[in-house]
């Protein structure tokens, strides 16, 4: 346990992180974990962060060593998709009771839980997550895991990321560290090829990686391990034999990528599958890295051909929405699907960006967004709910794209809203995903309910009544008006 703080400090000294490089020595030492302010804190804890990035490994039993809340209040709430095993969706927790805590039964209970899961579910591996209480009472989870692994002949991996350690982001990093310490490199693959890559930080939300994988398949590129969307334990354990890697969600797994480069000479780049140009750039970079590692350079030409074909197809599809979307104003308020390339694609079809949050964007992203928008006023770090509500109520935007946290601010302001964060239900990755995003924006903006919900009740607006056509005037009638239309044709109400 004493190593947790050392681990954290080590994680924050991240030479591959451009933010970190930009800081002076003192700031760098402080790390990038901003302490949460009591009373105004938002967002998940380190345990949350570790769990969400590892749980998509589908054939692993994820056991949360904790009293009920940590798992009981959070399980089955993520949209990652599996093409095979479903074990990852089964929730396991030791559900510690007061007696367990007071009497120190935690370790014994954990051991029994591991045995029970192994007997009932025969998982490929068991991941055991430490949490605040079990860390606090000093359960030696690493020792229990080691013992269990020996006894049951199966990998039992301790994930040491108790909630109090820090933010969700820190938890992401601690999870990467756990994979590095206990999983990656423990299994040798049956065969390797010069076209094997790893994708790090891709979680296959709504199955969206399956929009991308066919592109790689077409190029003959094999995903050795996707960490962790739709992953299998064996694939992750043999990830060290890939030729190159791409980090998708750079903040989560940058340490992991860099350590893998150090240890196994796997070069990596940061990229994104959101947006058309980004997807093309990612494919290019993957091909480039593979060639650098000795693959046949002919792949570069094939990649360009595929890009040209797919891009023209996607733009053609997106252009079809132009008449419906031209001139509509978008407020981007998210840390999720956020990159400048989404902004780029939206602008391309004539949407106007009236504001974008750059809270979770990299410096480079910010620069690009500034260049594209040409107006710094449209860039904000974050917006207080009441400001956001006021902005939306005044109809300064036609739609807000954001995460579910601000969903109801938009809806209560009667403004269309589209979820583009991890809870979303539509896949937006790759070329087709971008088309889908544009389609969803169009559907959201043009849904007929907006006109209806914005209309004041007829008895609240006499001016509204006067504007109505004569045949429907009695819809909003006062007694006087009713008498007036009493002589009208009786189906006045029926014609809408």
């Amino acid at each position: 346990m004493s190593s947790l703080s050392a681990k954290i400090l080590n994680l924050f000294s991240e030479p591959a992180c451009e933010r970190n490089r930009g800081k002076d020595a003192k700031a760098r030492k402080k790390g990038c974990s901003k302490p949460q302010t009591p009373g105004v804190a938002a967002g998940g804890c380190a345990f949350d962060g570790a769990k969400i990035v590892l749980q998509p490994i589908t054939d692993v039993a994820h056991l949360v060593h904790a009293p009920l809340a940590c798992e009981g209040n959070s399980w089955d709430n993520r949209g990652a998709a599996s093409s095979g095993p479903t074990l990852w969706r089964t929730s396991f927790t030791t559900d510690l009771t007061e007696l367990d805590v007071v009497m120190g039964h935690g370790e014994r209970k954990l051991m029994k839980a591991i045995r029970q899961i192994k007997d009932a579910h025969s998982p490929q591996a068991i991941f055991v997550y430490t949490t605040c209480v079990t860390a606090l009472i000093g359960d030696d989870i690493e020792a229990v895991c080691e013992r269990a692994a020996e006894q049951f002949g199966l990998p039992v991996v301790p994930i040491n990321a108790p909630g109090f350690a820090g933010s969700k982001n820190l938890g992401n990093k601690l999870a990467g560290k756990a994979l590095l310490d206990h999983v990656i490199g423990t299994v040798e693959p049956d065969e390797t090829s010069p076209y094997d890559i790893n994708i790090l930080g891709e979680f296959n939300l709504s199955g969206e990686f399956w929009l991308v994988k066919p592109l790689l398949d077409r190029l003959g590129i094999r995903v050795r391990a996707c960490i962790s969307g739709d992953a299998r334990y064996r694939d992750v354990a043999s990830a060290h034999r890939a030729q190159a890697a791409m980090i998708v969600c750079s903040k989560a797994f940058i340490n992991l990528a860099r350590k893998m480069e150090e240890r196994w000479d796997i070069p990596f780049f940061e990229g994104s599958f959101y947006g058309i140009t980004d997807t093309s750039e990612a494919l290019r970079q993957i091909a480039g890295l593979l060639v650098r590692k000795g693959a046949d350079p002919e792949i570069l030409g094939r990649t360009e051909a595929l890009i040209a074909e797919e891009e023209s197809l996607a733009w053609k599809k997106i252009q079809a929405f132009r008449p419906k979307l031209e001139g509509k104003r978008v407020l981007l308020n998210t840390g999720g699907v956020k990159s400048w390339s989404v902004v780029h694609a939206l602008l391309e079809i004539g949407l106007e960006i009236v504001g974008t949050s750059v809270k979770k964007s990299t410096l480079e992203d910010k620069e690009r967004i500034k260049q594209i928008l040409k107006d710094e006023h449209h860039i904000f770090e974050s917006m207080a709910p009441h400001v956001l509500y006021a902005t939306l109520s005044e109809h300064k935007a036609d739609i807000m794209l954001s995460g579910s946290r601000t969903q109801f601010i938009a809806l209560k302001a009667k403004i269309p809203w589209l979820d583009i964060n991890q809870e979303r239900h539509h896949p937006y990755a790759g070329y087709d995903g971008m088309v889908e995003l544009v389609r969803q924006i169009s559907l959201a903006i043009h849904n007929p309910i907006w006109r209806e919900v914005r209309e004041p009740a007829p008895w609240d607006s006499q001016t509204g009544a006067e504007e109505e056509s004569p045949s429907t005037k009695c819809e909003t009638a006062t007694v006087h008006a009713l008498n007036k239309c009493a002589g009208m044709k009786p189906n006045g109400f029926a014609e809408r």
Partner: protein, 460 residues
């Protein structure tokens, strides 16, 4: 304007319709102390009876003139006379609602003459029983035609035609058959909240609302009182709901001078606003806080639930007015109507259905038109098509025999629209298809028509 495609097939495959007399019987069942009587062979009645009992999970009084071979050849007047007299003696009904069937109508009997003769010859026995006949041959129309014919017949026969003093607190409501028991109860409450009184004809809320009466009553045990039908002419306004209620409303207007307004549907924010405004105007009472609150709740439901409807393809098969009611509802939520099938072509409303085309047909038509839709909307018989197509089914209309409580579902005004939205949204949620690599592999699927489902990518 929808293009109306008439029925061209010879064989109806999996019928969508229920017959006209059944609709008429349903209307008579909304009158207190009533006994519907099918003038036809026994089967006509027993089939309808079984359907009605299954749908409402209630005993349903429904009798038959039991036309036999001899009566079929020689004429059914005696059977009709005997049936009416027997019913009067045995059940002492306030109303006998005669629904003709295809059998007697095909014979071309002078049914109106028969009824007149029976009434004249037995005026003593029938002193406390009204006899009303609706011409409802099975070979024409469907439920809504039968329902409307029965209501019009009741007004013609029972309502006093002399101009009477108007009661400014009273309105008449002629609801379409597609309003549920819960809807009718809700109409009563809503009208009362403005200090008005509603005479609703028919009022199925009193008879088919699933209560447990203290005694065995052979007729209907609730519904519109015959006496209230008699005095319908004292209302200051008549509200007809559904295009099929235009004729009964006109009959009432011609007879008594009570003016009517027609609502094609009361489902949805705007329709509800219009109805509430009307009540407020008629009563001079401001809209009560409770209703304003319900309006706001519907607004919130629209906001919360519209995501689930965006771009969804809906296939509906229903009676014309219900088809219009549901199609406008779904289109109003952002969905599109992929298939619209109507029972009959007898209604003007069909061309107003917000779909490219309305097929007059059966569930077989629905099944072939609905491939690729996200939701089937029809009665319980649609379940086989739903299963074969792998599309979820939302049960509406009649009959609903494999789910309980369809009569208790609210479908009108603010709360009814809210409930419908939630029901459909929950069906969408319950049937989300998990993504699979195959479904999302658009390169592979490109050769396939990709506009089959609302979107190959959409899961909601």
């Amino acid at each position: 304007m929808a293009r109306i495609v008439p029925r061209t097939k010879s064989a109806t495959v999996n019928p969508l319709k229920s017959s006209q007399p059944l609709g008429a019987a349903l209307a008579f069942l909304g009158v207190a102390g009533a006994m519907p009587l099918f003038h036809g062979s026994q089967g006509c009645t027993s089939f309808a009876l079984v359907r009605l009992v299954q749908h409402f999970a209630e005993t349903v009084p429904l009798q038959t003139t039991a036309m036999d071979e001899v009566a079929t050849i020689l004429g059914g007047a005696d059977q009709l006379e005997e049936a009416i007299l027997n019913l009067t003696t045995r059940a002492n009904p306030k109303l006998i609602g005669v629904c003709t069937t295809a059998l007697v109508e095909s014979r071309g009997e002078d049914l109106a003459g028969d009824i007149a003769r029976i009434k004249a010859e037995h005026d003593e026995e029938l002193a406390r029983t009204m006899v009303v006949m609706a011409n409802t041959p099975d070979f024409h129309g469907a439920i809504e035609d039968g329902w409307a014919a029965a209501v019009a017949a009741m007004i013609e026969v029972i309502t006093q035609s002399d101009r009477q003093a108007r009661d400014t607190r009273k309105i008449a409501i002629l609801p379409g058959w597609n309003l549920t028991v819960a809807d009718i109860e809700h109409l009563h409450d809503t009208v009362e909240s403005f200090g008005l009184e509603a005479v609703i004809l028919p009022d199925v809320s009193g008879a088919l609302d699933g209560t447990v009466p203290d005694d065995w009553i052979p007729t209907t045990y609730g519904g519109t009182a015959v006496d209230d039908i008699r005095k319908l002419g004292t209302a200051i306004k008549c509200v007809a709901i559904g295009e099929h209620m235009r004729h009964p409303a006109e009959v009432l207007q011609n007879l008594t001078g009570v003016p009517y307004v027609l609502f094609h549907s009361l489902t949805g924010l705007k329709a509800a606003d219009q109805f509430i405004s009307l009540l407020s105007a008629l009563s001079g009472v401001a809209v009560p806080a409770k209703l304003r609150r319900r309006r706001a709740q519907l607004q919130d439901t629209l906001l919360d639930a519209h995501f689930h409807f965006n771009g969804k393809k809906i296939a509906i098969a229903a009676e014309p007015d219900q088809l219009y009611q549901l199609a406008t509802f779904f289109v109003g939520m952002g969905s599109e109507i992929a298939a619209a099938v109507a029972t009959t072509d007898t209604s003007q409303i069909l061309e107003k259905v917000p779909a490219e085309m309305v097929q007059v047909g059966d569930l077989g038509d629905l099944e072939s038109l609905a491939a690729g839709a996200d939701l089937l909307v029809t009665h319980s018989h649609g379940r086989q098509a739903a299963e074969r197509l792998g599309i979820p089914l939302m049960r509406v209309g009649f009959p609903i025999f494999d789910r309980l409580g369809s009569q208790h579902k609210l479908t009108i005004l603010y709360h009814g629209a809210r409930d419908l939205i939630l029901e459909a949204a929950n069906i969408f949620q319950a049937n989300q298809q998990p993504p699979t690599p195959e479904r999302l592999d658009l390169i592979r699927n490109r050769e396939m028509k990709d506009d089959l489902h609302s979107s190959p990518l959409a899961r909601l």
